[in-house]
C-alpha cells in the first residue's frame, strides 16, 4: 500500500484557513479490507494471469491494487488507484525484455553485462523519478490526485552521486590493507561509512517528501540529520546482537546434530542441510535488522513531514511489526504462498492503524492545483518492483 505518497509542505500561497475550529484533531487511517475477500480476488486474478500467459496480469494488478487503495480510508473517504492496465502491460513487457537481455549477456560476455549494469545504474535515478511520478499521479483522494514534480538533478545527486562517496572508504580499506594496516583501514572505513550513509538516507527522504504535492499544497519536511545517525547506529547494534544470537543458536544446533560423526564433515563441501539451515537461522536475523530500519525510517518520514497545516504521526513499533513480519513469513512459507493475501491485509491494517493526520482543519481545504500532468509511463514503476529496489519508503 502506497500511502507513502502522502507525505509533505506548501507551494501555493496558503488559502484562507477557516478561523473557526483551530483545535487540533487527529484522524487515523482506517483499513477496511478483509482477508477473505482479498484472497478470492487475489487467487482468481493470479489464475487468470497464468492462464492468459501474463497478458491479464496488468488487469490483475490494477484490480488488486484498487482493492488495497480503496480499502484504506481517511476521514471516511477511501483512496483511489486510477492507473490503466495497458500502460502497465507495456511497462511489464519492456522490463521483461531488458531483464532477459541482461541475464543472457552475462553468459555471452562479461564486459557486455557490466556495460548493461552500468547503463541500468545510470538510468536508476531517472527511473526512480518516473516511478514516483506514476504512483503519485494515479493515487487520489476525494477526487484530487497526488503529484510528484520531476527533479532529475536532485535524483541523480541523492541516488547516484552521493553513493560514489561511499567508494572512498572502500578505497581506504584496500590501500591500508595493502600497507599492512588492515584493521585500522577497516575501522576507518566503518567510521566513514556510518558518517556518510545516514546522511544520504536522510537527504533522500527529504528530497522525496518535498517533491510531493497534494491539493494545491506541497509537502514540507523538517528533518533532523542526527535522528538518522541514531537510527543507523541502533540498527548496527541490533545487527550485531541478532547475528550473534542466531549464530550461537545455529552453532549449538549444528554441534549437537553433528555429534558422533564429526569426522565425516568436510568444511569445504558442507552438506545441503547444513547450508539450508544456516540460511534458515540467518533469515530471522536479517529480518530483525531490516524491520528496525524500515520501522524507524517510516516513522521518521511521516513525523517530520507536513502538508499545509496538517502534521503526520506514525507510531509503528518494533516488536509488533517484527512479530507480524515473522509470523507472516512462517505462515506464507507453510501454506506454500496461499496465505499471502492474509499476510498482506494484516500488515496493511497494522500500518493504517498507526498513521494519524493531525491538524486544525477539516481536511476540506485542499484544492485542485494549476498543474496539468501528462500521462506517465508505467515502465519505470514496473522496473522498480521487478528489480526489488526499495526506494527507501
Amino acid at each position: 500500500m502506497h500511502h507513502e505518497t502522502m507525505a509533505s509542505g506548501i507551494y501555493l500561497p496558503e488559502l484562507d484557513v477557516p478561523a473557526a475550529d483551530l483545535t487540533d484533531r487527529s484522524r487515523r487511517l482506517e483499513f477496511r479490507g478483509n482477508a477473505r475477500d482479498y484472497f478470492r480476488i487475489w487467487i482468481v486474478n493470479v489464475a487468470l494471469s497464468l492462464v492468459t500467459l501474463g497478458i491479464y496480469s496488468a488487469w490483475a494488478t490494477v484490480r488488486t491494487r484498487r482493492y488495497m487503495y480503496a480499502s484504506t480510508a481517511l476521514a471516511d473517504t477511501p483512496f483511489e488507484y486510477l492507473a490503466r492496465p495497458l500502460p502497465i502491460l507495456r511497462g511489464r513487457l519492456l522490463t521483461a525484455l531488458i531483464f532477459a537481455l541482461y541475464a543472457l549477456a552475462g553468459h555471452v560476455s562479461r564486459p557486455v553485462q557490466l556495460g548493461a549494469a552500468l547503463v541500468v545504474g545510470l538510468f536508476m535515478p531517472w527511473m526512480i523519478v518516473k516511478s514516483l511520478m506514476f504512483r503519485a499521479r494515479y493515487s487520489s483522494w476525494r477526487g484530487l490526485r497526488f503529484h510528484f514534480t520531476q527533479d532529475y538533478a536532485g535524483a541523480y545527486q541523492w541516488y547516484l552521486l552521493t553513493y560514489l562517496l561511499l567508494a572512498v572508504p572502500m578505497v581506504l580499506v584496500i590501500v591500508l590493507s595493502a600497507g599492512g594496516h588492515a584493521l585500522v583501514g577497516l575501522l576507518l572505513a566503518f567510521a566513514a561509512f556510518t558518517g556518510i550513509y545516514p546522511w544520504i538516507k536522510g537527504n533522500q527522504q527529504q528530497w522525496m517528501i518535498e517533491h510531493h504535492h497534494f491539493g494545491g499544497k506541497s509537502f514540507r519536511f523538517k528533518g533532523q540529520l542526527s535522528n538518522y545517525y541514531a537510527i543507523y547506529i541502533k540498527a548496527v547494534g541490533i545487527a550485531i546482537v541478532a547475528f550473534l544470537a542466531c549464530a550461537a543458536l545455529f552453532g549449538a544446533l549444528a554441534v549437537s546434530a553433528l555429534k558422533g560423526h564429526l569426522q565425516g564433515f568436510n568444511p569445504k563441501a558442507p552438506p545441503i542441510w547444513f547450508i539450508a539451515s544456516a540460511y534458515l537461522v540467518m533469515a530471522p536475523a536479517y529480518l530483525a535488522v531490516w524491520t528496525y530500519a524500515h520501522k524507524a525510517m517510516t516513522n521518521q518520514m511521516y513525523n517530520q513531514a507536513q502538508l499545509g497545516s496538517y502534521r503526520f504521526h506514525s507510531t509503528l513499533a518494533y516488536w509488533p511489526l517484527l512479530g507480524i513480519y515473522l509470523s507472516n513469513a512462517v505462515v506464507v512459507l507453510c501454506t506454500l504462498g496461499l496465505a499471502w493475501p492474509w499476510a498482506r491485509i494484516r500488515l496493511a491494517r497494522y500500518r493504517a492503524a498507526n498513521l494519524e493526520i493531525i491538524g486544525g482543519g477539516d481536511l476540506n481545504d485542499f484544492v485542485r492545483d494549476a498543474f496539468s500532468h501528462g500521462e506517465v509511463g508505467a515502465a519505470a514503476t514496473e522496473m522498480d518492483s521487478l528489480l526489488g529496489i526499495d526506494i527507501g519508503l
Binding site: 480476488i41 489464475a47 484490480r63 473517504t77 560476455s109 476540506n364
Partner: protein, 355 residues
Amino acid sequence: MTPAVYFDGLSTRPIWVEVWREDAVLHWRTADRQRAWQASLASMEPSARVTGLPFVLHLADGAHLQIEHDQMPADWFPGHHRLEKLVDWLERRWMAALAGVVVVVVSLLALFEYGVPWAADRVADHLPHALESSMGRQSLTALEGRVLLPTHLSAERQTHLQAVFWHFALGMPGLGDVRLKFYSAPMIGANAFALPDGTIVFTDQLASALPDDEAFIAVIAHELGHQVHHHMLRQVLRNSGAFIVAGMMMGDVTSMGGITAGIPLFLINSHYSRTFEEDADGFAFAALSRQDIDPVAFVHMMQALQRSHPESKDQAAERYVMSHPLNADRIGRAEAASLAFKARHGAGAAVQAKK
C-alpha cells in the same frame, strides 16, 4: 433515490447527495434541495465492480460521485467493464477461488515443466552459433587459471586418451566441432563437462580415477550427449527463463518475493538439469551400442568411481558421482539399454552363425 457523496474535483469538500436516474440522465441534489446537478450517463465513466469497494462515477470535468458498494442499480451502466464484470462474478465465489487454486497449481507446473523449456528451446534453435561459441569461450576464460590449471597428465597418457576420444568421436556422424581438453582442477576434483563451443573439459582427477578405457569412453559418450543436444545453452536459457518468469510473478510481491523465490527456483533448475542428464544418458547408451560397447560400461564406470573412495582421503572422485547421482532409475535405464544391446547383438551373432 440512491445516497452518494459528490466531490466537485476542485476541492476535497464532500457533498452528501441523493442520486436518481431519468432515462439517460443522472440527477443528484443535496438533501436540503438547495443545489442540484445533472449529467448524461454516457458522459460518465464508472469504476469497475470490486467486492466491498465503493463505485466511483467519474464526470468529464474531473468531479466524481461515490456510491457505496451494492447500492448502485445494475442497469445504470450495463455495457461497461464487461470483462471485469465476469471477473467480479468469479471473485465473489468460493468455488471459483478453489478452482483458482487448482488452476494456479496446474498452470505453474505446466509452465515450468513444459512452457519455459519449450520457449527456451525455440530461442536456442534460433540463436546464431557464434553466440554459443562465445558463451563457451567466456566460460573457459573465466575458469582457466583459477579453477582449471595446466594438466599434470603425462604426454603419452594424453595422447592415448585423445586417440581413444577421436576414434570414438569420428565414429559418430554429425557431431560437429568438438575437442577434448585436460586440466588439473583441485578445486572441483574429478569431473567432466561440456562447454557450448564444443570443448569437453576433463579433469586429471577424473582421468586417474577411471579403471579402464571403456569407462573413459562412457564418460565421453555422456558428455558428447550434452554437446550434441546443446544442453548448456538450453540450460542457460531455461534457467534465465524461469528466473524472469518467476521475477515477473513476484513483481507484485516485492518484499517477500526475494526470499521465497530462491528455493523453488533452485528446485526448478535442478529439475531441468536432471532431464538433461537423462537425455545425455540416452545419447550415451545409443552411441556406445552403435560402437559395439555394452552400455552397462556406464554403470560399471560409476560404480568404480563410487568404490574408489569409501571414506578415503580421495574425496575428489566423489564429485563426478555427486553431480551425476547413480540412482536406481539410472541403473535401470542403463541395464535396459544393455539388454536391448545384448538382444540385438545376440540376434546379429545368430544371423551370422546361420550364414
